[in-house]
């Protein structure tokens, strides 16, 4: 009997092991070693990438890492030459478990491995403590998604981010809530640097817009049960529940709001603006709003192409920050090209001068390493997809440029009808238009700096 049972157990274990082999996500296809024809020296550039690959946010971490793999493969297929040598990029992917302590451990690991630059981390809570280690080691760090304003305000010259920060996002969300006719709000945050930071900025903006905060409740980034705090919020009769946190908590929170019979609406930031949120929240998410820094991929020149490339390669939809991760890798590679060096000390000054058209939009940094003129877009959860509503905040440059373009086209059209002279004057008109736009951009810039 005993022997028989152990056979059964073994086969169970074996079955587990087998299915484990069978269903494992396909590892990234190994990059084919480039065939080096002659004596060109080859240098290996190691880029660190950090995101939570295990834990409740592993699905977002995987998304980030996939984008980094995609970017690295593309760079390698371009056969770049920097400083007269062929360059081969290598990705050193680490897992910080979205845990600040683990974040500094892997940061030290990357510093010790002498990487040439770091893309990451995903969370503000891990990015901020790690940024000190990178700064001390003189390593450039470009975070795709750490939106807590503190990250770039520590005086670290190595810290950059390719996403608008939460000061902008919180402000826009507060204004949007006021516009929706919200009078009272309950704020829930997950006590992470991101969630708390966003909630604080939202609170400021909401209060400035005449909304009363009737409850401050807290949860954590591993929780699944929110009934207790939601019951309390219900007793405070809020019009809106604002959630500062990630989709894994936001989804169940929205669902439990409905189960408890709360009439309040739900609003959240980039952490809940994902397909996963709708999957987890079910019908309760329908008609609610969230925001994402940047403008929708579909509206950008390189967006749709990136989207289809990503899906074709990995077989699943982009979750959230993949375009920003891709851009972060490209920012580093671009700076290396311009500096003609892969040495951190040499190409670091070039990052600040970045001026490129990324898949997530235009990338330029201010003196803190923050993205210039970051716009925030509002989305509505509608029938299982994120429907774009509007873009708020940021500089109006993009819109103005589009207007000028339209004007130019109209002018050009008119010009062909009238004749060459008209074309000339038309072109001049466009020029004046462009200058006016520039002027507007400067004013916005000045206004932002004043703030």
């Amino acid at each position: 009997m005993q022997a028989k049972l152990s056979v059964v157990a073994l086969s169970v274990v074996a079955a587990f092991a087998l299915s484990a082999c069978g269903e494992k996500e396909a590892p990234p296809a190994p990059v084919a070693a480039p065939v080096v024809p002659a004596a060109k020296p080859e240098i290996v550039v190691k880029l660190g990438h950090v995101a939570p690959m295990t834990g409740p946010q592993a699905h977002l971490g995987k998304d980030n890492e996939s984008a980094a793999i995609l970017a690295i493969e593309e760079l390698n297929s371009q056969a770049l030459e920097i400083g007269g040598a062929k360059v081969k990029f290598e990705l050193l992917a680490e897992d910080d478990q979205a845990d600040p302590k683990q974040g500094t451990i892997v940061a030290q690991k990357l510093v010790d491995a002498k990487v040439n630059g770091v893309v990451g981390h995903l969370n503000s809570g891990t990015t901020i403590p790690a940024s000190k280690l990178y700064f001390d080691a003189g390593l450039p760090q470009v975070s795709p998604s750490a939106t807590n304003p503190k990250y770039t305000q520590q005086g670290f010259t190595t810290a950059f981010r390719v996403m608008a920060n939460d000061v902008q996002q919180g402000k826009v969300l507060g204004e949007f809530a006021a516009k929706q006719g919200v009078k009272t709000v309950a704020i829930v945050d997950d006590r992470t640097a991101y969630g708390q930071g966003l909630a604080d900025e939202f609170r400021k903006s909401a209060e400035a817009n005449g909304i009363k905060v009737v409850a401050d409740e807290y949860t954590n980034d591993k929780a699944t049960d929110f009934k207790a705090i939601l019951t309390k919020i219900k007793s405070k009769k809020a019009d809106l529940v604002f959630f500062g946190g990630m989709d894994a908590q936001g989804g169940p929170l929205a669902k439990q709001m409905k189960e408890l019979g709360l009439k309040a609406k739900f609003l959240g930031g980039d952490g809940v603006c994902t397909p996963e949120f709708m999957k987890l929240g079910g019908p309760a998410t329908e008609g609610q709003f969230c925001s994402l820094p940047g403008v929708p991929l579909e509206q950008l020149a390189k967006g749709p192409e990136f989207k289809s490339k990503f899906t074709a390669k990995f077989g699943y939809e982009i979750q959230l920050y993949a375009p920003n991760v891709y851009d972060a890798v490209m920012v580093i590679a671009d700076s290396m090209k311009r500096a003609n060096s892969v040495e951190p000390a040499k190409y670091l000054p070039e990052i600040g001068k970045t001026n490129m058209e990324g898949v997530s939009g235009k990338i330029e940094f201010d003196e803190f390493g923050d993205l210039k003129g970051g716009a925030i877009s509002i989305y509505k959860y509608q029938g299982g997809t994120l429907a774009y509503v509007e873009t708020l905040g940021g500089s109006p440059v993009a819109e103005a440029v589009a207007e000028v373009k339209d004007a130019a086209q109209a002018v050009a059209g008119a010009a062909t009808a009238v004749g060459a002279d008209a074309v000339k004057s038309g072109a001049e008109a466009v020029k004046t238009g462009a200058e006016a736009v520039k002027g507007a951009a400067d004013t916005v810039k000045a206004a932002v700096e004043k703030k």
Binding site: G55, R191, Y218, T224, K227, A228, I229
Partner: protein, 307 residues
């Protein structure tokens, strides 16, 4: 008042789940004096197996209720096999070694199971198909759902079944005998190895039921969901007096209610000085206070009649 009632309902449902998981800890502890830290992971595996089976069956055209039942049975079978294998692989070879050693293998098994689940089911959250129709009841201003009612009733039934097993059957008598004194029990013809294995199997079956409950309650599942649940259930077992069946049940329900009330009222009691982020701390503070005055838990560790 309706808010208070709502918080009690919230706590009662959460507490029933804690209680069911806590029974697994307490049974194993009662018999072997071992804390099976991988128990939370067994719950997680139960949830994930039932999701896979239920959705596969539902996709094949089986009605959802039947598919859910199939999922529950599959989860119980897999978890029973898993519990048995755990004991066989991680604990039996270490029988008689210092107490710390099996504790370490328990934590090791917990990590192994988590990663195994991550490899099999992936890193993403899985959604649990809604097994019961979404009926919302309202009573004196408090809302509750059919799922919540089912959870409380099913937990009570499972606990009743366990009490019957332990106190009214031959296997239960053997369990109690082994708990009292394994050496004497084996001298009197009790196959202690089989009794211990049975304790693991029964505990794991309860864990599977708890797993399906958690899954259908929150409608989400993730490979890391077992860890915190296991920790809370362990706390509940200690609160009630570990090794004591009635203690585990009462401890579970009590912990659930304490947590809900803590989150709901701690801010008001302290004038906003402490907020709902002290929810977990509140529960642990209660635990510490209980242990200070009653070191063996509320119901005491019935050493003479454990199991």
């Amino acid at each position: 008042m309706d808010i208070f009632l709502q918080q009690i309902i919230n706590g009662l449902v959460q507490g029933s789940i804690y209680a069911l998981v806590a029974l697994g800890y307490t049974m194993v502890y009662g018999i072997m004096g071992l804390i099976n830290f991988a128990h939370g992971e067994v719950v997680m595996i139960g949830t994930l197996v039932s999701i896979t089976v239920t959705s596969t069956l539902a996709a094949a055209g089986v009605p959802l209720g039947l598919a859910g039942l199939g999922g529950l049975i599959a989860a119980m079978l897999v978890c029973m096999a898993l519990g048995w294998s755990l004991e066989r692989i991680a604990y039996r070879p270490l029988r008689g070694s210092p107490r710390l050693t099996p504790l370490i293998t328990a934590i090791g098994m917990s990590i192994v199971l988590q990663n195994l689940a991550m490899i099999i089911w992936g890193r993403n959250y899985l959604t649990f198909p809604p097994l019961l129709p979404k009926v919302n009841f309202e009573f004196a201003g408090a809302h509750f759902t059919l799922v919540q009612v089912a959870i409380v009733l099913l937990s009570a039934a499972m606990m009743g079944g366990l009490v019957f097993l332990v106190y009214r059957t031959k296997l239960g008598m053997a369990m109690r005998a082994t708990a009292q004194n394994p050496a004497v029990a084996s001298l009197l013809g009790v196959n202690t190895n089989r009794v211990i294995a049975a304790a693991f199997v029964v505990g794991s079956a309860l864990a599977a039921v708890a797993g399906v409950m958690v899954g259908s309650y929150y409608e989400i599942a993730h490979y890391q969901m077992g860890f915190m649940l296991g920790l809370k259930a362990f706390t509940a077992a200690v609160l009630g007096g570990i090794g004591n069946l009635a203690g585990a049940m009462a401890g579970g329900v009590l912990l659930g209610i304490i947590e809900a009330l803590g989150a709901g009222y701690i801010g008001d009691f302290t004038g906003g000085f402490l907020g709902s982020h002290y929810q977990d701390i509140f529960a642990f503070v209660v635990l510490i206070i209980v242990l200070m005055f009653k070191p063996s838990g509320l119901f005491g560790e019935k050493t003479g009649d454990r199991a």
